[in-house]
Point group: C2
Chain length 687, copies 2
């Protein structure tokens, strides 16, 4: 069998996804916006987001070029092409974020406008906006990888050649994607949360004006933040996950084929199956998006469920024949056949859903744990914080047990290759999962715009109903993100170990233990840097909003327009300045530890950062989510409702949770993979 | 050389320490208390603390007897005596906590009384109270261990026999100590923080009465809590650390002697040196306590510094001749001689001090990081919390780097035996370190009593001056506690690995990685359980204090005495109920993982819990400490001082920090060692 077959599949699926995205973008742009105020405010948001992303990319460009130059000039032979593939990965990641943001900022105002006609049409626009994002991400990933494959493979390329010359180039692509993703996540997260915290603390608590009130000078920055953080940042993030798990799994595919196998083609087949799975997932996701429609009298939640569940079932069903056709009766060197590999896909799907349902249980509105946070808000902010942290900590236990079982299960079925297939299983329907994820901020923005442009209560109730759904689906998406990050980091570590030539990494050697300690502490340092950056930026934002209210009393009386641009400026400058240090740290730490401490310590570092990072990320995401929903429970009328003492306490928890769940937590998922991929790319230096 | 020599040294040093403790207790009890109100209130506190500890021990007794019975009846040969030594370890640990608490509750009122005569005499009583605690802990540890040694060794016992028959019995002693320590720390921590949080939130924030005001119904419970948590809990904690590092180091001593060595006596010598170091440390500590005196015009801080620094220097100087005399020109199997082993002692001392100074930098009053928390309090509780968590997270980095360097340094000098000697180096002057640690709550209580018994402002200013010092010294003590916990857990893991027969624990095996994940998440679960328990108990306490203020308005007008006993009852019941689950979890987790997942997964679990636990403990302790001192900085007049908005925000942070720094954080240090020692004791079951 030739690897070209799989490359063609990836190319085809990627092309279909991009075609879908272009078509739907065209459709969205043809939806009308008639309301003048809406148009103006949406224009501010769109312009702010575009300006920020362009500035962010211009800050990153020299750095990306430098790394690309280093990879191209500092290496020999075909490894030089890593410089090119790194650049391509960085560009694709940036493009995915930019296009997603562009479509989201176009869809939000059109959703508000469409809400005048009812929930069906409004859902259609907002979900379509999300689905463009989803398809752009998977499409660019598959097109980028298949482009590189067509450049570097021949019809007669052997699996050993894939391993030594082609896959290192794909690793460069993955490194480029991860690098941009980390900066984009951190920068976007800092931007959005500085604005959010600043807007909430002065607006809601001090000035007693509602959320999204256009008298608040930070409100536009807050909405821009949703698009550059939650949309563009998330797009780059999942692009990185998807590419990382595909590349890691392909590398392990070749490594899992027996060396003395009569036919070289087993390695080719095993390495190709991940691309086949991705292609199956794209088709299933597109079918799912067509089924995501609100029918008369049905809730938007049901529409989202129908779409995602159908896509997942289709992908699960279609994977088996695909694996069977391409693997036939061949086996890995540990004896895993098509059936075992298929079971790994299912374990991945189950584990991801399991973590998602747990996330929903620990953080959802109305669940018992979230309720206990709401209740403890009655005795003040301190007990709200203590209970929230307690809930967040306990929630890590079940999630990690599922991760552990998934690793054990897939590993015993097909070794680390099985773990990789499990990770891919979690990401196989990424197209539609990401559509739901990106739908969230679009619907949220549409609601904000309805408030700011002072639409009628009927319109607002439509946008509110859109905003209220999708939480469960998004929680499940988060579960897939966390689970796949853990498994992908492990397979990248395994790929690193394969390439490093280390046959044993012994926990009874002190350097390995030291590596674990150093790796374990990095997620804390990394989270600290991003959270303190938000603390500082939010402080500046609060001072600025207070100043505007104080110096221009007309703002609160609706007679003066606040200066939105100064607030956008504060968020922009903070984000661009503060993304540098954590980003540099993530890239240089494996380099320094590998250089000074050796390969064994580096291996310890990678495992340490994975274990500690996955747990800390779960803790931060869930704590933040639970605080958010505890506040929403109180706002819906419990314990005195809005304006009560309990509500003030819950707002404190929600504010603390913002950087937890939207900046530090998700960035950690990238950090652990980025460090593994840096080590994988640099392994030849250390040897 | 015979091991009896070392046993005699340990016995002698232990006897001297106990003699010192008895003598000083007698002296304290002969100091007068004349003030009637003081006597009455101190009586409440003393009775409350005694009652609680007796109830705590009666809850623990059946559990301890059950485990002892299991060890005695479930095993064969000399391992049966583990049941006996376990019981002895548990009893000694309980006794250390009880005596320390008894002396502390006797010394506090006498310190208040003595404060009438000035700072010299007051310091003398409070510090002597602390030193009794210190000497009881090291004395009981050395007496207990030497008693077991005399029971089970003969003059001709070979080092291999030490390893197979005697040391398992010592491990049982260590397990007993760790078990009681964990329960005592958790229960004491829950008791004291439920009362503290409850007293502060209603008293300071709602009723606007000062701290330690006797109108607050929770104030006596708060003071009882200081004695059962900060004194008795800490005593049991450090007893456990001391015993664990001694036993672990002795086991590795025999293992580090070359098997083909011409003389068996190298193993004997290496195993004996830890006892020799302990004996040197006891003498140095006692000399240090004699030098801890305030001279005319000098500050109490200087007296504490003189004592601890002298003791440390003496111990450092005397260790070298001791090691040289007993080891001579013999070497470990990796070629480490007396000089290398001595260097490990110094590395331990340096690393401990280094972590201590870092702790002081990140959490001390007036330091830049703490100042930034104080500043961020101006924009409310949320920014105070975010900044505090950020500072706490960043503080883990330098501490872990020091731990990592200490491990690398000692390991390269003398293998894991060197790591053990480094851990002992941190604990060698435990006698006086613990004296300073226990001095803190005594001085704090003395100040509280001065307020409650309405002593004159002059007396209060003396007790305040006592309370204000010792922070730096205590921070350094904390550094030693964290560092020694990390190193001790690692040597216990190494001892476990020696006994398990695992020659390689390979990170490329999925079960090891799964073990790391499971171990990594346990500290989160454990912290969550204790923090949520505090959240619940504090909630009940707040409701009770509010109820008393509401139903008996005379309390706030000084015409009615509040019902202190109900508040003590709430703390007592919560502590006894809530200590069970985390305690059981800690003991059964290694058992379950070893039984279901095998030895490799268990090994991963132990390393995972150590890495994750040390980092999380450092984070929790430092975050809590920094919030506490940020509040104190504001109380001293910054940003509006007491009663300002910034102060209210800082009180929220301080309250959240209470369970962080005084319950969850310190308990984790015990957890990691307890799990290692459980595994060490049970290793024969799993094989």
């Amino acid at each position: 069998m030739q690897f070209t077959v799989f490359s063609v599949m990836a190319l085809g699926a990627g092309a279909v996804a991009i075609f879908y995205a272009v078509w739907k973008t065209w459709w969205i742009l043809h939806q009308p916006i008639e309301h003048e105020v809406l148009k103006r405010i949406a224009g501010y948001i769109s312009l702010g987001a575009r300006t920020f992303l362009i500035r962010e990319y211009s800050v990153l460009l020299p750095f990306v070029l430098m790394v690309a130059g280093f990879l191209a000039l500092g290496q020999e032979g075909s490894l030089r092409f890593q410089g090119f593939s790194f650049l391509l990965g960085a560009l694709c990641s940036g493009a995915a974020g930019f296009v997603g943001m562009y479509v989201a900022t176009s869809a939000n105002a059109r959703t508000t406008e469409a809400a005048k006609m009812g929930v069906e049409h409004a859902l259609r626009i907002s979900f379509t906006g999300g689905s463009v994002m989803g398809m752009i991400v998977v499409g660019l990933a598959l097109l980028g990888l298949s482009f590189l494959l067509f450049l570097f493979i021949q019809p007669d390329t052997l699996s050993s050649e894939l391993s030594t010359t082609v896959f290192p180039i794909l690793s460069g692509f993955s490194l480029g994607a991860s690098t941009v993703a980390l900066f984009a996540r951190v920068a976007g997260g800092i931007f959005t949360k500085a604005a959010d915290v600043g807007a909430d603390l002065v607006g809601k608590i001090e000035a007693n004006i509602p959320e999204d009130d256009h008298r608040n000078p930070a409100v536009i920055a807050d909405n821009v933040g949703d698009n550059v953080g939650d949309v563009a940042g998330m797009g780059a993030d999942l692009f990185e996950s998807y590419v990382g798990s595909l590349v890691g799994c392909m590398i392990l595919g070749v490594a899992s084929a027996s060396l003395d196998s009569s036919s070289d083609s087993v390695g080719i087949r095993l390495a190709g199956i991940p691309l086949g799975l991705a292609a199956v997932g794209v088709i299933a996701s597109i079918i799912g998006t067509f089924l995501t429609r609100v029918r008369k009298g049905e809730s938007p939640q049901k529409a989202l469920n129908t779409g995602t569940i159908t896509a997942t079932i289709l992908a699960a069903l279609a994977s088996y024949p695909m694996i069977q056709v391409f693997l036939g009766s061949f086996q890995t060197k540990t004896g895993a056949g098509a059936g075992s590999i298929y079971l790994c896909v299912l374990i991945g799907l189950l584990a991801g859903s399991g973590i998602g349902f747990l996330t929903e249980y620990f953080t959802g509105t109305g669940s018992r744990p979230t309720g206990s946070i709401a209740r403890s808000s009655q005795t003040g902010a301190a007990t709200n914080i203590i209970t929230g942290i307690g809930i967040g900590m306990i929630s890590t236990g079940p999630a990690i047990i599922i991760v552990a079982l998934a690793i054990l299960g897939t590993f015993s079925l097909a070794g680390f290759y099985g773990v990789g297939i499990g990770a891919l299983g979690m990401l196989v329907t990424l197209g539609i999962q990401l559509a739901v994820d990106a739908y969230g901020p679009i619907a949220d923005n549409a609601g904000g715009l309805a408030v700011m442009a002072e639409f009628s209560p009927e319109v607002r109730s439509v946008t509110d109903s859109l905003d209220a759904v999708g939480n469960t689906t998004a929680a499940i998406g988060k579960g897939f993100a966390i689970g796949s990050a853990a498994l992908t980091a492990i397979i990248l570590f395994s790929a690193f170990q394969e390439q490093s030539g280390l046959t044993v990494i012994d926990l009874t050697h002190a350097p390995v233990i030291v590596g674990l300690f150093l790796g374990g502490v990095l997620p804390y340092l990394f989270s600290s840097l991003s959270m303190m950056a938000i603390g500082r930026a939010a402080y500046a934002m609060i001072e600025e909003v207070r100043r505007q209210f104080r110096e221009r009393p007309g703002i609160l009386k609706f007679t003066e327009e606040p200066d939105y641009r100064r607030c956008i400026g504060i968020s922009t400058n903070a984000a661009l300045k503060e993304m540098i240090l954590p980003g540099i740290m993530a890239i240089t730490a494996p380099f320094l530890v590998g250089y000074l401490g050796g390969l064994e310590m580096l291996a310890g570092l990678l495992v340490g950062v994975t274990v500690s990072g996955v747990i800390l990320a779960t803790f931060l995401s869930n704590t933040g989510g639970a605080w958010d929903n505890a506040k929403k429970m109180i706002e819906s009328g419990m314990y005195g409702g809005k304006g009560s003492e309990a509500h003030r306490a819950a707002v404190v928890g929600d504010t603390v949770g913002d950087p937890f769940k939207d900046t530090a937590g998700p960035s950690l998922n990238i950090l652990i993979k980025l460090m593994a991929i840096v080590s994988l790319v640099l392994v030849s230096f250390f040897k």
